[in-house]
Amino acid sequence: MATPYIGASIKRKEDYRFLTGAGNYTDDVALPGQTHAHFVRSPHAHAKIKSIKKDKALKAPGVVAIFTGDDLAGAKVNGLPCGWLITDVNGQPMKEPPHPCLAQGKARYVGDHVAIVIAETYPQARDAAELVKVDYEELPAVVRAAEARKNGAPVVHDIAPDNTCYVWGLGDRAAVDKAFSGAAHVTTLEFLNNRLVPNAIEPRAANATYSRADDSYTLYVANQNPHVERLLMTAFVLGLPEHKVRVVAPDVGGGFGSKIYLYAEDVVCTWASKQINRPVKWTADRSESFVSDAHGRDHVTRAELALDREGRFLAMRVTTTANMGAYLSTFASCIPTILYATLLAGQYTTPVIYAEVTAVFTNTAPVDAYRGAGRPEATYVVERLVETAAREMKMSPAEIRRRNFIKTFPYQTPVALLYDTGNYEATLAEALKIADVAGFQGRRADAARRGKLRGLGYSCYIEACGIAPSNVAGALGARAGLFEAGEVRVHPTGKVTVFTGSHSHGQGHETTFGQVVADRLGIPMEDIDIVHGDTGKILFGMGTYGSRSIAVGGTAIVKAVDKIVAKGKKIAAHLMEAAEADIEFKDGAFVVRGTDKKKAFAEVSLAAYVPHNYPLDKLEPGLNENAFYDPANFTFPAGSHICEVEVDPDTGTVSIVNFTAVDDFGKIINPMIVEGQVHGGLTQGIGQALTEGCHYDKESGQLVTGSYLDYCMPRADDVPAFKVGTKETPCTHNPLGVKGCGEAGAIGAPAAVMNALTDALGVRDIEMPATPQRIWRACQESKMKKAA
């Protein structure tokens, strides 16, 4: 083998099928005799369901069956579970209102699933759905987090009369209050973290089938973690034997978090497939995705930073209200807590931090993890505060950061995390260079001559990836493990199939994981296939989210590979009549150390499956190993983003003229794939800052931004040609030294953009998304202030 695969920008193996239309997505799955489903959804944000009449619809052409909440209740189908129990400041468990798979008694948001109509064709199902007569009694709705706890606000769930799911705290409140009282300077900011619609290109879809022959189910579903989907669905909702349900998540066209969860539609299609004894297929259309996919973010925050005279951080105090939407989605509760408050130390030595988070119910779609999940929100708080403090104290934004960077590792933060390693000065120094910060004043002056306003903003983010270890997560309320599983199956001829519990929905795992295995086994990548997304093939898996795949899933594979090599050594020792201790595995061959005796990998694998000359008394034949890996800690990717914007004050238009991202992802397996992930993440981060805003009408609770006419996804011409760089500080506790890269861009970018924008305009804050209208208004206000 010539060059090592790890570190090489190998073109993605999966792209051939994706780019030539040969992918196999859930909607491509056509099962014999399949029926088509359409969901009747609530047109109201909040309404009593007085009755549902389906007789007329049942007579419509092609209709096979219609089910409502009553049918599910009658069949003892449970509601959807929440996967993380948060315990509040008083030691009480969070409020967990039932989340029925089809509404029972009440609809709680526009798009809430009320009935399923199953017909021979999709148009028939849709036509018939219009004939299902739901008698609603409209109720007043509450959609904004800030309004949910006000006196007299409409009550979403009776078990939470103040619409409060929990009030949760982290950190030493008394110590923080004390530090604030003695501070030379306090910076305070209040802001919103806007609600986002995930918008994966492939909408959610399911195709479920039941087999009478062996009383088993197969569910094809656009999902990021098929084993978790199966576990939740069988154990918590349908009470089915787990081994009788196979969940397949074939090619999946993007997830960004929105396909982690167990959704009602998946459950209802699966359940219905047995009722009608035919496959039930459902694919969301885009309008449905907007109203029914779990949304992201939606925080209202007040944040304060206490500093001494030299700009050293003394303490941070953060109060956040997080909008959960109408129901708790699968991991909703842990996002604004465990994945948010724990990140508030950022890259800094802030000695004491206190965060209090109030999670509220509203009449909106459920909110859960979206690319970054909690960490973008935390970074936004920290980096907006730090930059604002620098401005207030007339310090350079780079200097205030340098003065507070964590420099020795491991570092225990005051908010529970233990950073194993990092080099924050290195990424900042590199970013300053690439962004040509030294030349900024000149560019700003030039822009001013053209009547334009330039601004520069920084964001030095940290993220925690590969949430772990399971026992600690369990103590914090997790209702699932957080390990990963991998299996390496060496075929007799030395070709290899790797099964991973990670799931690829755009990340290129088939390539990246292939590179790792090829290097470790010293065989060509073409000899290796990576298989994922099928509970019928893969021993177990926790799936892909939180940038965990290479760090956790990759490590599980490496551990299985290590077992293959260890067994191979035993076989090779036997074949070459040498001591096992003398066998070395190098460049794809087992070598007797210090001799030229060797056996190629394929010779050893053949011996394992044709065990004629084989130590059968001591060793099982075959060469197939699996491994489970539960990490000792999170990994901590970090980096520095610098954004330069130019504003046209006449119209409020902003353009990002430069965006520099220098990231430390630890060891990088495929730089091209990593760069692609960074570009995608940055684009979504810029989307959050400038274009994407999910807006519910305050009175009616209708989703105003329910299509691309009003919801603005960032397009190619909204982003610049990114300047990216990397620094490699390997993770200390996994064998590859990897940290994860999928979310970094979305985590760091919003603060960098908004810091740049506020710098350009000379204002403290603008609400995200900073649309031209908002920027124009900010320009008007600062003009008026200057005039006054």
Partner: protein, 265 residues
Amino acid sequence: MYSFSYQKAKTVADAAKVLAKDGDAKLLAGGQSLIAAMKLRLAHPSAVIDLGTIKELSGIKGDSKAVAIGAMTRHAEVASSAAVKKAIPALASLAGGIGDRMVRNMGTIGGSLANNDPAADYPAAVLALGATIVTNKRKIAADEFFKGMYETALQKGEIITSVSFPVPKRAAYMKFKNPASRYAIVGVFVADSGSGVRVAVTGAAPSVFRVAAMEKALAAKFAPESVANIAVPEKGLNSDLHAKADYRAHLVTVMAKRAVEAAMK
């Protein structure tokens, strides 16, 4: 979509005959508005009559005095037409700024005008250039054509066959795009015909309109500063999530100024 019947028309007369017989039938041009509305079940025609197969409806003819564009001519064809670029470059550039590549390859000038979306671009050009809309029944002057939001002077069964644009001395179109849809939040078309100046604004109000004060000022002196201090009243302007009426009013002035600047280049 609800079910509907589909038919190809061979001639304009053919299409008119079907329309006359079936009040719920609709003409299909590029389908960029109609099909979307049908998919959302907002439109429910009994029949769709495809104009795409009628050759005579497509094409561009021009000389130094006027450019005539067939109703079924796609935006992309107008954008890249040598004749349009030479005679009325502002019109070619307007067409090139509509939607995205896919939309421009399908959408037609006839469909756009018949639809009269308040945020569509063509109405600004038609009104500012004083174009004439030719139908299977008559000729309609631009000033008579746009009646209100999605409303035109077209009668039931009337089919646009072409649009004739007089060639101006100079003209320019400036569009402030809705960041999401990229339709016009405000689009201002300024045309100087030599004998007079017309300023038409789209996107800002329920329907395209002219700004008499700007026209007068520009007729006196065709220069950006002539319009820099002329504001349109906020009252009656559209107000939505993306742009409240005051912002739209402000943008009309800015875009008008920039259009004049561009026309002078």
